[in-house]
Amino acid sequence: MENSFDEKILDEANDWIKANQKVVLATVIQTWGSSPRQVGSRMIVNEKGDFSGSVSGGCVESAVVSECLSLIKDNKPCKKIEFKVSNESAWEVGLACGGEIAVYIEQIH
């Protein structure tokens, strides 16, 4: 049996919007291999770079934050970003767990 999956990030997004913040919603839309968060996992980012929720186990959140900030800056509605396995010896953004994920970011307007 499955319980419903809801980490209440959308509720928080609404609170942020009511506080007059610009909000970008990031959602895991696809995963391949071993990835830490399931499809539907969410994160929100505001124009100051504050964020809540997660799309990985901490591996790619910083990259998602900067992508979200660019989205606000360029005033684009949405974008799909893919993250692949990282090279552990290099300081780069990627998934050390060996999985791949696609994250969809969209402005709430």
Binding site: I29, Q30, V39, Y104, Q107, I108, H109
Partner: protein, 226 residues
Amino acid sequence: MKIKTLEEILKKKSSKTEFAILTNLENGNSEIYLPGTSPKGEFSKYSDEIEKFFKSKKNGVIENSEIFVETYIKPIKVVIVGAVHIAQYLVDFAKSLNFEISIIDPRGYFASEQRFPDIKVINKWPKEAFEEIETNSSTALIALTHDPKIDDPALQYALKNKFYYIGALGSKKTHENRCQRLSEAGFTNDEINSIHGPIGIKLGGKSAPEIALSIIAQLVLETYKK
């Protein structure tokens, strides 16, 4: 996503309606879909695929398309008998774990709204209280009063209605006596053995939050076993 869509999603969530969010990943358009209806506009040709996601309770991108489907199903209902101290911590855990809690306690001084804000507290005996809760085989029961007058009728109701998880607080001795009473009331050994008693996973803790944790951990474990 439009703010209007977000507000509609939150409204549907709080009224425990099942729905899906459909998003066109190419242009960012999104739409709320209710099961059994036909999806609108650009989503209309994916009606079969959307229903499939609903049936499997999954989220994902429809194959060979740029349509993302996110389904919202009803949370699992958990009925707690006994508005006691442990129940207050169970309510806290259940909020983040997304269980929908109702509490039954005929003792008014326990079942106050002040002790349980935002929770459905039914200040009646189990028999009448269950008339106010819609239950089925996806419902769980946590009996916490260890008072046979209150717990037993709730346990009997849960057994008869085949709740997927039934747990009862109390020592081994208390549970033996409880089993004896249920046997005398005509329940089979299999039915009686399906009750988790003493309730909870053995973690070793004795405080109210620790016992609540052991109960909620067992509930999650049993949910994914079924």
